[in-house]
């Protein structure tokens, strides 16, 4: 028994000694050549894949850019991505694998509100620093301090989303009085419409139509006709790409001509949608995040689009990529800057650094507020003007998507009413 104890003791001492020796020689510590791993799930198939694929492409471009410059903290960067199939149920499994099997150093969210939501509890439980990619109001209930979201919604995401649209509407002369609100029965449109209802009260409009529709609706002409019947001055639409196209076409077909039309239509920013709708877009005032106007040319953005558009052509994704890709790039750009700035891979230190600093990114200067959203909203309101035919090339230059709001990025004046812009 005594001999056995002695042997066990010797074995333990030996094991500790070997561990110390190996540790000292660097076998157990990260070597300089070990990559810093960033993991994410992304919608590469399914309903949001039209955005998910370009987002991942942008993140890969950032990785290549960083590695060309020597990586982060002298180590190369590796991106590990899995297809979440636009299915929220896959998210917990993907991130568990990323953390437990792939041993990633940091995680970034997938694209969109629905895919960020299931990641929040995982991030909170493991105290992760998490960069969110275009989620609307994901952190409003959790108040998780280490969540940062790159969509420029602002400190009050629901209300800030449409503030510009309502401010513009209220400034017109004569001021429009009545408004119709219509949106899909889905996560984002519900948030957007909820925010719009608050703004209706704030700006003193009278709501004459407030309805939602199922996302699988095929024909939008009955909706457009019902809105036309109540003759609103303003029509605020919160929709996803297929319904945005449906609403714009239906409005043109039934002759729906409010004084201001647009608001929160996702999809009108996509190249194929813009090219397909062509002149039907004229006069629409809609949210956007970036437009090729002189006021939006931030350092690095031109180089990013040059690389993105080259890759997008081969991959069959949004060819111009003005909507989501630069923001996906900026999300990881901020993460990289924070790793370099804090000289650390510690989740908390990196989160503290992100919270305390302003970052110069390809989408401009970004500072986060207490809830992880942009400290100041920068949701643009643009108006489509002078669109002729369906040639994609016309959207590359300035003048087709004129920035009306916010004032500091304004690039032109609004054509009012909507019908005047359609002539």
């Amino acid at each position: 028994m005594t001999r056995a104890k002695t042997l066990l003791g010797l074995a333990l001492v030996g094991a500790v000694a070997i561990a110390l020796v190996l540790g000292g020689t660097g076998v157990f510590v990260a070597r300089a050549a070990d990559p810093i791993k960033i993991g994410l799930g992304m919608a590469l198939t399914g309903g949001l894949s039209a955005n998910g694929k370009p987002a991942l492409m942008a993140i890969q471009i950032w990785k290549d850019d960083v590695n060309k410059k020597g990586g982060l903290l002298g180590r190369p960067v590796e991106v590990i991505a899995y297809d979440d199939q636009t299915n929220a149920a896959t998210v917990p499994g993907i991130y568990t694998k990323l953390l437990e099997v792939d041993k990633v150093n940091f995680v970034v969210s997938g694209y969109g509100t629905n895919l960020i939501a299931p990641l929040m509890p995982i991030a909170m439980e493991r105290k992760l620093t998490i960069m969110g990619i275009l989620g609307l109001a994901n952190n409003e209930k959790y108040k998780y301090p280490n969540y940062f979201q790159i969509q420029p919604s602002g400190p009050d995401p629901e209300a800030n989303w449409a503030t510009g649209f309502f401010e513009i509407a209220a400034k017109q002369n004569p001021k429009p009085q009545t408004i119709a609100l219509v949106g899909a029965d889905a996560e984002y449109p519900r948030h957007a419409i909820a925010g719009a209802r608050e703004l209706v009260k704030k700006f003193g409009f009278k709501t004459v139509y407030d309805k939602s529709y199922p996302p699988s609706t095929v024909d939008y002409t009955p909706i457009a006709r019902a809105i036309k019947a109540v003759n609103p001055d303003v029509v605020f639409v919160a929709s996803y790409p297929p319904d945005s196209v449906g609403m714009v076409r239906a409005a043109a077909e039934v002759g729906l001509q409010p004084k201001i039309f647009g608001g929160g239509m996702v999809g009108l920013q996509f190249t194929t949608v813009m090219a397909s709708l062509g002149p039907m877009l004229n006069g629409i005032v809609n949210y956007d995040f970036w437009a090729p106007e002189s006021t939006m040319m931030f350092p690095g953005i031109k180089e990013f689009f040059a690389e993105y558009q080259k890759r997008a052509k081969e991959a069959g994704v949004d060819t111009l990529g003005y909507y989501l890709p630069p923001f996906a790039y900026s999300a990881v750009q901020i993460l990289g800057l924070a790793i370099e700035g804090s000289k650390s891979l510690d989740q908390q230190k990196v989160a503290d650094y992100i919270r305390a600093n302003e970052f110069s990114t390809i989408v401009g200067k970004v500072r986060f507020g207490a809830n992880g959203e942009w400290a100041k909203s920068r949701v643009l309101q643009v108006q489509y003007q002078g669109v002729k035919g369906t040639d994609v090339e016309q959207f590359r230059g300035p003048g087709k998507k004129v920035v009306l709001y916010p004032e500091e990025f304004k690039s032109g004046n609004m054509i009012y009413p909507y019908s005047a812009a359609q002539k």
Partner: protein, 290 residues
């Protein structure tokens, strides 16, 4: 907000929508309703048809519906091939119920992923002279984007009806759905007849895909929006009844449109499926089922 003008517009819009639904559902009515093959991949073939229309439209400027017509022989061959694989692997062995369903699910995902890999996941649309234009007939607005698919849907329904009721092969298809042994005794090969019928069902997807992309933008996963709808229409109309499929399509189209116009669009789908449940409670075999 009620007005007769709105009701008239809603009814017309519903009929137009119904004509399109009929076009999309015909293939399922043929394969599921008559052949008892749960071809859950049918909407994926519809999307394949939509992409064929997109490619020909964007590359050669070809009209989407003309493309739909031109591609029907190819889709027929694909359909016939798919049925042969299905028959050889499952139906002949009597394993068609669950395994066959899994086969078609797999096929649906393969088509979806293949389209994603080949054409990406961007929204695809077509251009045609009639898209975006409308006419006003006595206060009733008719969008050509919906009128053309409705007319094509009606023509497809009529053609299929005439085929099934007036031709030898059509009657054989009806026969195979009723009594395969009797058909064999008449000297006809049920497998061959079913191959022809399945091929026709998939050929219809070529045209209905072209109609779909004329109405709204398409991505590879759009097929999922239609799975429930087309099977509901087929069941409501009565399995195997081509006329029933058209009537059920129009009922659902008009119900959706009236709800969207008068009471709020969020109820439109719930009411449509409510009608389905009610109809099945009264007539379990569907409106025109035997």
């Amino acid at each position: 907000m009620f007005s007769w003008d709105l009701v008239a517009n809603a009814v017309v819009a519903g009929i137009l929508l119904g004509g399109f639904y009929a076009a999309v559902s015909l293939g399922v009515s043929l394969t599921f309703g008559l052949l008892d093959v749960v071809n859950i991949a049918h909407p994926a073939f519809v999307i394949l048809g939509a992409y064929a229309a997109y490619v020909m439209n964007s590359s050669f400027g070809l009209d989407p519906i003309l493309t739909g017509v031109l591609f029907t022989p190819l889709f027929y061959l694909i359909g016939a091939g798919v049925y042969r694989i299905y028959y050889g692997s499952f139906e002949r062995r009597g394993e068609e119920s669950l395994r066959g369903l899994v086969f078609f699910f797999g096929l649906l995902f393969i088509i979806e992923v293949a389209l994603s890999l080949k054409y990406g996941v961007d929204y695809r649309m077509v251009e045609a002279a009639y898209i975006g234009k409308s006419i006003d007939l006595g206060g009733v607005g008719i969008a050509f984007r919906l009128l053309v698919p409705c007319l094509v849907g009606l023509a497809m329904t009529l053609a299929l009806y005439l085929f099934l009721s007036r031709t030898f092969y059509g009657r054989a298809v009806m026969g195979v759905s009723q009594d395969q042994v009797a058909l064999r005794l008449m000297g006809a090969n049920p497998v061959r007849i079913k191959t022809i019928a399945f091929g026709l069902g998939i050929a219809a997807a070529s045209l209905s895909g072209a109609l779909l992309i004329t109405i709204s933008p398409v991505v590879p996963s759009t097929d999922r929006d239609y799975i429930g709808r087309v099977f509901a229409i087929t069941v409501l109309g009565g399995l195997g009844s081509i006329g029933g499929t058209l009537v059920a399509s129009i009922i659902l189209g008009v119900a959706e449109s009236l709800m969207a116009t008068l009471f709020g669009p969020s109820w439109s789908l719930a009411v449509s499926f409510g009608i389905l449940l009610l109809a099945l409670a009264v007539r379990p075999a569907g409106l025109f089922g035997r």
